[in-house]
Amino acid sequence: MEITNEMRDLGDLIEKYFKNEVDPVVAEYDARGEYPEKVYNDLIEMGLNLLAVPTEHDGLMVDHKTETYIAEILGRHDCGIASAIGVNNSACSTMNFFGNDEQKKDFFGILTSGKLAGFCLTEPNAGSDSASVKTTAKLDGDEYVLNGTKCFITNGGIAGVYIVIASTDLSKGTKGLSVFYVEGNREGLIIGKHEDKMGIRLSNTTQIIFEDCRIPKDHLIGQEGKGFVYAMKTLGTSRNFVGGMAVGLAQRAIDECVEYAKSRVQFGKPIAYKQGIQFMLADMQTQTAAARELAYHAADLIDKNEDYEIYVSMSKLFASDVAMKVTTDGVQIFGGYGYMKEYPMEKMMRDAKILQIYEGTNQIQRVVISNIMLSK
């Protein structure tokens, strides 16, 4: 995969910011489980929330290769912040695919005014099984009235606008789902409990509760009943961001391990001299390199609009499994120090786990992949 000068230019800016301003405070915010407000504000100022906003709406609309490259850089530094940007982009993606011009102007205007977007699909009883979504949207005159509870919502409480999947006809299961956009300051949109997470603790995750939340009728995106199709189409591209992040995380873990193995002396020599360590490092790098190629290949296919869906799922599945394995091995290489919060490795292992779970669990990815294989 060729990294163009234009990509590198943007990447260098983000890298410089994260090195100077984020790396020094990551451990502190991770311990507190709090999102670093100043960092988020700076990143929005920088325009990181506008990667998937069309240029005609004052955004950047970078191609998916560039987006994957940026995901990789973010993943290197902190998967929590990376997740916040990834979800923001997913929400933009829904709007790009299915929103009309008026809706785009409205929705993207909120982002260019300095806000993030959120994506509300998951519910306490509807994770992988989207058909169990119980949040309802009932048409009442010129308004839809939303009721229900969404959980595990990234950017919950800080987003200026949310994409919300709700049922307009509970009797129809997935075929009754519809997609709306709801401004964060709508009456009846209540920010529920702040989730205390194992990892990605620099992202803000909350419940979002809808209590007779009224939105104008024109906030329905596309047609009623198409919500499931729209959501799947969105995730079918946006989850490649997870692939990119996972590669960045894995590579960071490897880089830390290489440094550590060269400096940690046991039995009179750095442990890098031990073949047991060397073979682990070699496997970690090989798997990560393969995951990187897969992620960029998937991005390339999206950019060319060629059958990308299977590759996006493979990228998300493989890269996140690799990140989990590499960070687990990373803790092993660091030994007792790897298990301590004083060293960076245990956080990476905690952060890696979610990559196998969110944006469609890796089991669901296998379902997607095999369905595409078998439907041909």
């Binding site: 943007l10 100022e45 990667l51």
Partner: protein, 265 residues
């Protein structure tokens, strides 16, 4: 305000190594950056523009690759960028460099209008001479202030906060003036992704000795009275130690113990 900022592309000295045999900088593979003090000068210039309106023009002398440094400047608030690039300029010492820059600054006024201020970094982090700014002022016959950390424009007056050994002075200076800038209280801003993309697409005006119509006898090696006889790395003498315990009294105790250990007292 119409402001000209002079910048230099330098190797990132935090990542540079010195060739032990030739005692010269090993520039291969070292990333290039905008000289740190020049970044502060540019930030000051852009802040003045934001407060009072006007324009910030940046110029640099160097090889074609210095365009990257100028693009960096465009991404953090400069409006126009000029690069002086010519083999005849190669090997210029500070006198020749300041001659070329001053000459060009004068010509540039035909395009960009009279400059109220010409800002430079106090020195480049690779050569460390600190001479080019002051020499430009002499070539141009205008006022100069060095080691500035802040600039305020009030009506016709320009006030410059100049660092000195004891603290600082506020100096009033007549425009036009050359002001060299040191590390300020504020950090240079980060670019935005959008300004990066725009800067990438922006045109950098590249000019050579012919297009600026300059006496080449006074440029480059020919115009440089400075001759480098030898360069070497000064010997590092690690005689000093710094004691910094949590409290002053703990520091004193450590110090006394060290002195006692050496059997000095």
């Amino acid at each position: 305000m119409n402001i000209l900022v002079c910048i230099k592309q330098v190797p990132d000295t935090t990542e540079i190594k010195i060739n032990p045999e030739t005692n010269t900088l090993m520039r291969e593979g070292v990333p290039s950056i905008v000289n740190t003090f020049d970044s502060y000068a540019l930030e000051l210039g852009v802040r003045l523009k934001e407060e009072h309106g006007g324009k910030v023009t940046v110029m640099s002398m160097g090889p074609e690759q210095a365009k990257a440094a100028l693009k960096e400047c465009l991404s953090v608030g400069a409006d126009e960028a000029y690069l002086l690039s010519d083999r005849a300029f190669g090997g210029s010492d500070t006198l020749a460099t300041s001659f070329i820059l001053a000459n060009f600054a004068k010509q540039l006024e035909n395009e960009e209008g009279k400059f109220d201020l010409i800002l430079c970094g106090k020195q480049a982090i690779d050569g460390d001479t600190g001479q080019v700014g002051p020499e430009m002022a002499e070539h141009l016959g205008i006022a100069q202030v060095t080691y500035a950390t802040d600039i305020k424009a009030e009506g016709d007056k320009t006030l410059v906060k100049r660092e000195n050994d004891q603290g600082y002075d506020w100096i009033e200076v007549l425009s036009p003036a050359v002001i060299t800038v040191t590390k300020s209280d504020f950090e240079p801003r980060y670019a935005t992704l959008k300004s990066k993309i725009a800067a990438n697409k922006a045109e950098i005006h590249v000019l050579n000795s012919k297009s600026i119509n300059i006496d080449v006898e006074k440029c480059g090696l020919k115009g440089s009275p400075t001759k480098v006889k030898k360069s070497y790395t000064p010997k590092k003498e690690n005689n000093g130690i710094i004691i910094k315990e949590e409290t002053a009294s703990a520091s004193v105790q450590t110090l006394m113990r060290l002195i006692a250990d050496k059997k000095v007292i």
